[in-house]
Structure formats: C-alpha cells, structure tokens
Symmetry: D2
C-alpha cells in the first residue's frame, strides 16, 4: 500500500478494488482499499481496473494471470510465474501476443545498485566473468504451511531471487546441476508440527556457457549471514553487492589495474523490493516496454524446476528457454556522493524557516 500511495500522490494510479475471500474483507478495507469483492468476475469486468496485482497462493498464479490478460488488464504477478513449466509457457505465449504487460517478480534487476553493477560488468571493468555466487536464506517462515509442501520450497521462495539476479546480470543459463534436501523434516507452523515435503535446503550450479559458472546457496536453513549477496569474478576484477539483492546495501569493485577495493555506499537505501509496481505503472503511463519481460520470468521458472529435477536425479539438466538481457540505462547520480548527507527518509525541512502548529 505505501507503493500505491506514492503512485496516487504522483497521479499515476489509484487503488479502486480489492478482491479476495470474505475473511480478508475487513483487513483490506482497513488498509484503505475503497471497495472489496469476493467475485473474481467483478474484478475482471470492472471498467475502473486497468492493472491487476496477483498476490494469491502460488498454484493460482498462472490461471489468474491468464484470465486477467485475456480481460485486457495489465498484470503484476508475484513470483513464481507458475508452478509448472507448461502453465508458465502458455502464460508467456499469451503475454507475448497480448497488448497488455505481464510483469512477474522478483524485481531485483530494477534496483539502482543492481543496474550500476550491471553497467560496470558491461563496460568490461572486471573483464570476462568466470565465476559467480549468490546466497539468500533465513530460518524460514513459521506461518504458511504451503512453504513446506509440494509447490513450495526454498527455491521458489528464496532461491528465485538469486537466480533472477544472476541471470539478470550474466544472461541466460544453458545447464543446471543441483543438490536439494529436506534438512529439517518437521517444522512448527502456526503453532503446530508440519512435515516438510518440499526442499528447504539447496545448492544450485548454473552453467552460463563461455566457461562461466554460478552457484546459488539457499535454504530455510540459514540463520544469518555476513557476506556479499552477489559476487562476480572476472578475468581482471571482482564486483559484489552487499546486503541482499532485494535490499542492496552498496557494492564493492576490485579492478586489477586499480589495486584496491572501491567501496560504494548505497545510494538508494529506500529502494523497495516491490518496485515492479512502480515500474509497470510508469511503463503504462509512458508507453514503454517493461525491463522485466515474460521470457525472463519463464527462464527463471525453468531453472528452478530443472534444479529440483537435478536434485532428484543427480545429473545436469539442459535449459531450453532463453531471454535477452535488458538494456539498463545507467543510473546517474544527481550529486556527488560526499554531498549525500542525510540518508534518512523523513525529516523537518532542514535549514528552511517554517512554523507549524499541531492541535
């Protein structure tokens, strides 16, 4: 909702209708959704709705996105695109034929820090990339049984970010190898014991061709880390993102010819991982193509599915889909780094005379 509020303030979009189960009505209204329906058809046929945000459980994603596109709506879809390849493929084919946009999470490639890193690599500042690492994990949710059941798992929930980021940086993957396991067979979810059926622990190797390999380490089995989110090793340097790819905290660049690490502080500490909504709305308003394309989302989905398969079968799986890396415009800073003094978000209008009375 804060994202929606910002878009409203800018005059770009407005929340008009919420749709869900009856039990969600009061919460939605409390959050400021002006109308609420439990009837999907009402949403699809409403003349006041141009864009539908799909935040349902995973198995519903593909079906809902299809009907929304067919109803002439733009669609913002939470990851994953679908829970099986066939559904994902059909959805992408539909989207590619459609005049409406389908933008599917995650949106990590939209962050200014990601795009700046991408630009460094594209300019050849680390030479030819050879090795990459990405990690994302945490202790795992204590709500939502489905995280631990078929169709869930740490790859769909966590590894998906790493995979989206590495492919967004380095391009399409040709082959996948993985080890996956249920490391913790039983979990407490909403206060009761749940048997874990989907992988909660994974190491995934990605072969990008050109001798370049990435690894994704992910699980509901990582309590805490203190290391870079993304690392790329090239023939003349190294670059790495700090923080998380969905919440970057600056980046570091080593170039052989410089001989020192350059540490860049985060210039967009408030970049939200929900930024896909802003991006999609702006693309609609400005009549541009989104950077996050359906082909890319399908590629990420295939990698996850093949990683799960490789984990079961113990062999490398070829990847059939591909996508074209978007052309990022490098983010230009408005002012020098040393003059970016206040990174906090809200403050009095500093240094300017003003009076106000509160009652």
């Amino acid at each position: 909702m804060p994202q929606c509020e910002k878009l409203r303030t800018r005059g770009l979009a407005e929340v008009t209708l919420g749709c869900g189960r009856e039990t969600q009505r009061s919460r939605a209204l409390a959050l400021g959704v002006p109308h609420f329906t439990t009837q999907e058809a009402e949403l699809l046929t409403s003349g006041h709705v141009d864009l539908i945000i799909i935040l349902t459980s995973m198995p519903e994603h593909a079906r809902l996105a299809k009907v929304a596109l067919r109803a002439g709506k733009h669609v913002l879809l939470e990851k994953p695109l679908a829970t099986n390849f066939q559904d994902g493929k059909e959805l992408v084919e539909l989207a590619n034929r459609s005049e409406r946009h389908l933008v599917c999470g995650p949106f990590t490639i939209l962050s200014p820090t990601f795009q700046t890193i991408s630009a460094h690599i594209a300019r050849g500042e680390i030479g030819q990339p050879c090795l990459a690492r990405a990690r994302y994990g945490w202790a795992g949710p204590s709500w939502g049984e489905w995280f631990y059941k078929k169709g869930g798992g740490c790859l769909f929930d966590l590894g998906v970010y790493c995979i989206a980021s590495l492919t967004g940086l380095l391009g399409p993957v040709q082959r996948v190898m993985a080890m996956t396991s249920v490391a913790i067979p039983e979990r407490d979810v909403n206060g009761r014991k749940v048997k874990v059926e989907a992988e909660d622990n994974a190491q995934v190797l990605l072969d990008f061709g050109r001798g370049l390999f990435g690894v994704v380490t992910s699980g509901f089995t990582m309590q805490q880390y203190r290391n870079p989110a993304l690392e790329v090793y090239g023939t003349s340097g190294t670059i790495q993102m700090l923080g998380d790819d969905w919440d970057p905290d600056g980046y570091e660049l080593f170039e052989n010819q410089v001989g020192a690490w350059k540490v860049f502080k985060e210039t967009a500490p408030d970049w939200p991982w929900t930024d896909g909504l802003r991006h999609l709305v702006e693309c609609i308003a400005e009549n541009k193509q989104p950077l996050i394309k359906p082909d890319y989302a399908l590629h990420v989905l295939e990698i996850m599915l093949k990683a799960q398969e490789s984990g079961r079968e113990g062999r490398a799986m070829p990847i059939e889909t591909t996508f074209k890396l978007p052309d990022f415009c490098e983010v230009k800073r408005d002012e020098p780094v040393h003059l970016q003094h206040d990174r906090t978000r809200e403050h009095f209008e500093q240094g300017k005379e003003r009076k106000a009375g509160l009652a």
Copy 2:
C-alpha cells in the same frame, strides 16, 4: 510532515495551522498544512493549537519558545535552545515553572539503539567508562549563509549532536577545552562567495569528572568517514555505535570476559531523527514527563558556548549547569534477531492472499 501524518493516523495529533512569512504560504499549503498565517498572534491565541513546533532561524528560538509557553502551548524546539546562555537560562526557568512541556532538539537519546547502548553501560558491561569519542561532520551546506556567520558554526549545527549524545550517555560535563578554527575562509553559498566567520572546524574535550574524558570531532570539513559514531572505553570493555547518532546502524560491544566483539545489527533502521515530535505528543497524550528535559538542553547549550569561548581563549572553561540523566526503559525486542528477516519498509503483505486492482 511524514511524522505528523503518522501521528494523525494514530489519532494523536493533527496539523491545524502553519505560521510563517508570506513567501512560505504556498509551500506550506502544498505540504498539506490546512491553514496558514503570517501573524504570530493568531498562532498563539488559536484554540486549535496545543503544541507549537519552532523551526525558525536560531536567533528567534528562545523568544518564540517563551511566548509559546506563556500562551499555554507545548513547544518542540529545533536545536539550539538559544544562541546565548542568558536567553537559554531564562527559557529553561520559564519551562520548569510551566505546566507545558518544552522539548528541544537534538533527539538522539530517543533512538532504540542509543537506549540499548545506555542500558549496557548502566549494567556495568564495560565497567567504569574512562574515554569516549564522538564525531559528526560533512562538507557543509551550500545553502544558508547563516551557517557560516556569527550565531552559526559547526558546533551549533553538527557538534551539538555529539555533545547531546555523549552527555546523554555519560552524564553532565564539568569542564570543557576546545580548539576551533575557520579552516576554509570562503565558501560558495547559493552560488556566491561568502566569507566564513563562525568556526567550521572543532575539536572539543569534555571532562565528565571521575577521570572520564570525551572528545568531539566536528566540522564542515569532513568529507566522509568510515568509523563508529560514538565510542566508549571502560575498565572492562568497549561499546560503540555505528552509523550516525542521528541515524544509527547497529552497535558493537566488547566485554573482556567474552573476548570477542558482539556485533548487533540495527533493529530500527527507520528511526527518524525527528522522533522528538512523536515523543512529545505521546507524553502529552499519556500525561508523562518527556525524557528530553529543558535542563539537559541548557547543559548542551552551555557546553557549546564554553567550547567556543575555550577555542578563543585557550583555557579550560568550567560548566555551571547540570542535569539528571533520564531513566531509559530498555527496549525489548519483539522477536529474536534471526527472525527479523525483512528490514525494508514497504512491501506487499507477504505470504498472505490478497488481490487489488489499480485504476
């Protein structure tokens, strides 16, 4: 205004009236101030105003705060309390007699990280404090000539935070020694050359008694730093705040008996340095005494004035005022650190089914 908006949402306060110069009217209205006046009297006599926020130029602070208190209003005052000791002292005497609250910036002692550090020290975890350091500086503003003129200077604008934090942690100061200078005699301000008359560079020693000394390093002469904001060295350990005291980024604790640094990540990354407003409004609503008391603000003011004097005269200056350290309630965490997974501020309601339509 975001602070005000939050208080409004919570039903605690509402902006009713802005007061300033005619040239500020349109801006205030644009920011959402419902009414605006250029007449101070209208503000003071309005029945719709309980609390006045004073954000004027520094020389007006003391006078306005006095008339506001006399008019029966609570007052939130930007630092400094006053620009000379006599005005500050009279204001504090008035406030102490008044039934209304006077809360003066800076508000660094309100941050959860500050209060947690304070609790570690109070529990004796670093032993008896012996040495402390604080620093705050940047390249300096390119707007607001008054920063560089009499009544301005880096102590009133920057050092004030360090002094407020060190005294807030370690108690009142008995003696001050300082070196101050104009390191950069001419500045570009709003596109024109300005002769610098107030100190833009300072090192201030603070004698807390008990053999405990602090130092404040401050200036419009620090382009960037990469070190702790506050450091306190005790007889059995060390504690330090990372980030800035007005924007903490976690803290680190070394206890001799543990033999390792404990690194605590920031638990309130969105704590705003304008938090004094929230605090004051809550104190009014709950009929409590603010933690930031007039005596404390006067003590901070005297230290700055005596530091400037010591800088001119080259000798230690005794401090006459004192204050009592507030009793902080230690901040309790709601959940274990490793379960604080998403530090970002705005996001979809993760893991919960919801649909919304935007038009």
Copy 3:
C-alpha cells in the same frame, strides 16, 4: 626453511641432506642445506635421514612416497597424494601397514582457528550443519606450465584446500557434482604463451549426507575476494572463518540465542601453512599419531578426481572412500583476548632492561 630452523632450535630436527637435480644444488646450499645429492638412493639409504619431505612435481609424489616409506622413512608429502586414484590407494594401503607416518598436505585442519571452529560446531553451537561454502582462488601462476596441463588444474592446486577444510570440519563426502571449465584458454607462463588444458575454473558441490551440502568455488580466475573463507550454516547459527583457510584471520559466530555476531580476532596470526612439518616431527618425537591421516588424504584426492569426472560427464559421482574425523583438542588460550596486545612477531624485549652492542 624457517620451519626447519625452528625445529632445530627446539632440538627436534635438523636438515641433513637435500636431494634434487644438479641445477638445484647451489640454491639448496645457499639456503643452508648442509649436503646435497642428485642420487635418490643416497637419500633413501642415508642413516642420517628419518623423515623425507617430498616437494617434487605432482606425478612423482606417489612413487617417491612409496619408496621412502619402504626405506623406513617418515614422509611429509606436498598435496596431492597422487595424480590418480590407484596410485593414491596403493600408497595409503602401504602407509597404513607401515610403522612410519605419511602426512600429506594441505594442513589447514592444524590451524588453531580451524580447530576452534571445529570445536564450536562439535559443541552444537550452530545446531545441525545444513549448508557450507568455501572459496579459494587467485589470478593463477605465471610460472610452472604444469599448473595448466593434464595433472594440474585449479582443483589440485587450490580447490584442494577448500575440500580438505570442509571435509575436515564436516566429515566424509558421499557424492560430488561439479562444473569445470577452461575459462582462459591461453596463459602467459614464464613469458611465453601456453595453451591451457586443465580446468582453471570450477564449482564443486559436496553431498555429506544428512541433507548437508557444501560448495567449493575455485579458480585461477579469481582476482581478489572480500568474503569469508569458509561458511557453515546450521539449524541454530552460522560460523565462518575469515582470511584464507591456509592463513586464517579470525572467525565469526552467530548463535540464534545470542542474537549478535561474535567476532573473534585471529589468535595465531603467524600460523604457517607449512605447519604439517612441525606436527609430524612432534608426533614422531612424542610417539603420537598425526591428526592428518592417509585415509583423509585419499578421500580428498578421490573428491577432486570425481569432481573432474563429474565436470566432464555432467552427473553426480559417488565417493567410495571415507575417513574418520580426528579428535581435535580444543586450543586453550593462555591469556584473555584483551591482554593479547602485540600481534607482531619480532620486537625488542619490551619493558625489560637490556643493552646490546652491534658491530
């Protein structure tokens, strides 16, 4: 030689004889080797030799170690044990029957920091390990063509450390998957172009069973890193070694119940990666079994060979050998960390009266 010098000072060992090619004679004598021969037989039959250090090219390792053991000598062998599994296996069988010790590099498990980390894990302080990462790489040598030819490669030269460390921490591996490549097809070696035939780039997955997976990232393709050498993620915490496993720089421990990272500084900054020699000599002198056993070296060798095979064949390879984790005695610190004041290695006898004259 500094290692030898220390052992000599302690009265434990003495260099008596060097053996090599004629071209190496002058260098050996310059380094302080008292006698030198080009005749292997002279070395093997010498009554003044108890222990032979084998530092030859890799293909010679297994054969030389065998003849040395058969000649009744203890053997310290540079990694790898052998360049093929059959040779390694025969050597280990011979060593296991022998009354002499065979200790093969790398020796990373001997460092105090490694053993302390091992003790933390063994005490359950991070819970059940689930995921691990190790990395080691650099730009690659510009000498020694054999690094880039059959029998060389980054796994034998670099990855071997990671594999030795992860298995030393977490126990034997059951299954391996890997991606390997020649990322840089041509290298400058000793001033001339060399075609690269052995892998210079690798990602290796290790399946330890129990749902626990490790990954080794290694290559002559990593210019620089700034991240932990080893990371282990468990069900209630994380532990990681800083620096390199062959040159540790302290370690960091996160326990869920503590809620902070504990950062431990390096207590043995001068631990040498050649420490196997000291260990072996002490074991001989004290009549103890070395911690680094032939079975462990064979296991590490098999993992490397199978990783190369997996890289070629694209499927998981089972590991047939196993070993028993040694029982490390936890390293006790002599004095508290905060009293370990001078980490440098050589200094005047501080604080003690002394005079000396130099001529």
Copy 4:
C-alpha cells in the same frame, strides 16, 4: 634479536656484546649474545662496537645516549628521548654536533603504509588537512611498576606513537591542550597492588596551525578497539590507517571526485615496529642521513611534556621546538596487488622441485 639476525644474514651487522645487570646475563647469552658485561665502560670502549641500542629504563635514556655518542658510537634509543625537556634538548644538541647518528623511537614513520599515506596527502589527494584523530591504548601492563609511577604514564608509553605519527604526517605542532587523569587508582603489578601516580588516561589536542587540529586518545584504559588507527580529514577527502600505527593493516582513502572508499590491503604485514634498527644500520652502511632525526624526537618529547602540563594547569601550552618533515620516497610496489598472493611469512619454496631430508 630476529632483527639482528636478519641484519647478520645480510652481512650488515652483528651482535658482539651485551651489557646489563648480572641478573640479565644468562638470558642474554641464551638469546645468542656472544659476550656480556655489567661494565658500561667496557661497552663504550670496545673496538668491536659501532652502534649501541639503549633499552634501559626511561630515566637512563638521555645520560646513556650522551655517553655513547661521546664515545663515538651510533645510538638507537627506545622512546622517549628523555624524561625531561632539558635532558632531551642537550642530547639533541650533542647529536646534531656529532658525526654519529642518534635515532630514537618510535619508528612508525618508517612503515611502508605510513609512507604511502603520507604520499597521498602530499599529492593533495585529500585536499588541505583540517582534522585528525589517532588512538592507541590497551588494558595496561601487569608488570613494570614504573609504567604507573612518575616518569611513566600512558603518554610516554602509548600516546607517544600517536604523537609521532600525527606529527610525522602533518608536521610540527604549535600548541597543545590536554586532559589527563588517573582513572584506575590502583593496579595489580606482578601480583601486588600498586598505587597509580602517572596519568593512565589522556585526551590531547594538537594545534598544527593553518586551522588544522589533531586529537590523540590514549590510555591504559582501553580494552579493545575496532576503528582506524589514524584518520585525516581534508577539504576534498579522507584517509585513514587501519590496524595500529606500529602494526598497520592497510589503509582507506576517500576522494570526493572518486565518490567511493578505496580500501588498500596491507602490503607489508610483517613490517616490524623495531624497524628503526634496520634503518639506522642501512643508513650507516650507505652513508645516508636517517629519516628519524633528533629534532623530531625532541618535538615529540616536548608535546608529551606540555600535554602533561596542560592536563595539570587546564590551559593551552605553546610548543617551542620544531622539525622539518622528512622527504619520504614513495614505496613502489614490485608487483600488482592482485598478484600478491601469499601474505604468510614462511613456506616451502612453492612450485619448485626440491627435496630435503631431516634427521
């Protein structure tokens, strides 16, 4: 002794004679000193002694250095030059007239990292320096009562490094202000209680003129730190040394025009803080003037004495002595940073065939 050993290996110097009290004889001989005397006269008249290293208790420093110079010996003197200004001044006057060298500790300005930082500042890469900080402290010795008695204190033992480094970087000081205290009135020394009479806690302000101020924070009251050793803030950047100035661990440079911190790793991790001996012996051998001159040592001594006086009297003290900053030759790296692969100190001759036998 390791320093001496290295010089001996290089053919530059040899330990010929030790001189001390009878109780020190056995220790000196054990350390490898070939002859030992308790007769100062024997040392001074020996034809086998060119250079005398003075490591006695502080009150003896000046007298011994004088007789040694008069006897035609070069002198390496542990800090401080003297324990009072008059003795120091006479010694320096004698040394300046002498044809022999007097080199007095500390030797921090000799480290490659220090000299590299100095070169960055000299090239104007941080603009005009305005503020500086230095710190050095620890829990304090539990041996040597004299540390805590008149003539001892934390400035002579610890602060002296900071003062030597800041003046070595930024030039002579014109004025000093300080706060000093006995923070811990009683100490355990060699197992018994000792009353502390000399300052164990100090903050010292240094006025370098040109509006540039430094602060030194020092004490036997600092258990541990995690911050830079030296920080210099200039009008267009910041530079700071990591580790300790007597044991540097790299440095960091921020230049406004670069907009990122450059982090330089330590290139001389084994630089010993006893390096003055090597320097002096090389200067004698090559007939050069030492970089560490008597005037500089006297300036450092005066600052410490005046800081103690300022601490007692509560006013700024002018500094009468001065010195000329040495011209450092910038240290050139032999090879690029990314090829400096093995920072450890002792190792097998890697990658080169060699065999050795130990008996």
